[in-house]
């Protein structure tokens, strides 16, 4: 089409439908790609926003479809969508109920294993020890982790995002991602230990 404009300047107009058609194609491609990621977005949303996840995912997609032009092709769309989602979550004030400062009893990293191993007739096979936790234990323990820690934990450990992606999504420094992640994992394990011990008694 390069020659089209060279003949006569006025014929800029016939190009318009072509431009629109190309844009429509880009938009459809964008929408399809975004929808293909919906399961993964939902999975993260479910553990960031619990019962509000459905609504939040819909808001996220509504916004994404409206502002599709601000997505840079070739960059990580899943991260882009989750950035919208976490921002919406903050805007909605869902994070106001900031958890009180955690008590210093996060325990150490080996705490959960030690607790489970000592409560289980001396069986120390790692798979069996893990299986002492039920799915419900895990879901409720995760929801008991305070928001700031949980967001990072969910993005990295369930969503497979790198530290750098999580930092970008949440707009916090990578160092903060690392410290929240490590602390979040410890808090999760403490919650799991509590749940497992309760069941044992």
């Amino acid at each position: 089409m390069a020659h089209a404009g060279t003949v006569d300047r006025v014929d800029a107009e016939p190009e318009e439908p072509q431009r629109l058609a190309a844009e429509a194609r880009d938009r459809v491609r964008f929408e399809e790609e975004a929808l293909a990621l919906a399961d993964q977005v939902y999975r993260v949303a479910r553990h960031i926003a619990r019962d509000d996840a459905d609504e939040l995912v819909q808001e996220t997609y509504a916004r994404a479809f409206r502002s599709w032009r601000s997505f840079q092709p070739g960059t990580n769309m899943r991260a882009w969508l989750l950035r919208i989602l976490t921002n919406l979550n903050i805007d909605r004030g869902r994070r106001q109920q900031r958890a009180p400062q955690m008590q210093p009893l996060e325990a150490n990293d080996y705490f959960l294993y030690d607790k489970l191993a000592e409560s289980g007739d001396g069986v120390s096979d790692e798979d069996k020890v893990v299986e002492r936790l039920s799915q419900d234990d895990i879901v409720s323990a995760l929801s008991a982790v305070p928001h700031d820690f949980r967001d990072v934990l969910v993005l990295v450990d369930l969503g497979d995002f790198s530290y750098a992606d999580a930092a970008q999504i949440l707009d916090i420094p990578v160092g903060t991602v690392m410290s929240r992640l490590h602390r979040g994992r410890r808090i999760l394990k403490r919650e799991l230990a509590d749940a497992a011990l309760e069941e044992a008694t």
Binding site: L35, R46, Q58, Y61, D109, E126, V130, V156, D157, Y163
Partner: protein, 76 residues
Amino acid sequence: MNDPCAHCEEMMQPYLDHVLTEEEVVAAEAHLAECTDCQRRYKFEERLRIYVRKATDERMPAALKEKLAALRIPLE
């Protein structure tokens, strides 16, 4: 480093996240090779991560998927 197990514990999360330097990996693995206690705990942590991931894997309701598709902006 007077307590190698305490040091090994500190290395566990970054080890499993694959963010240690090569030397740190070598050092951690050298300790793991001779310490079954730490080895068990590392294995447990690895299994736990997989287990947590499985336990939290929720499929998106089909109705929601349809709602998302309906949010697409129709072509003129």
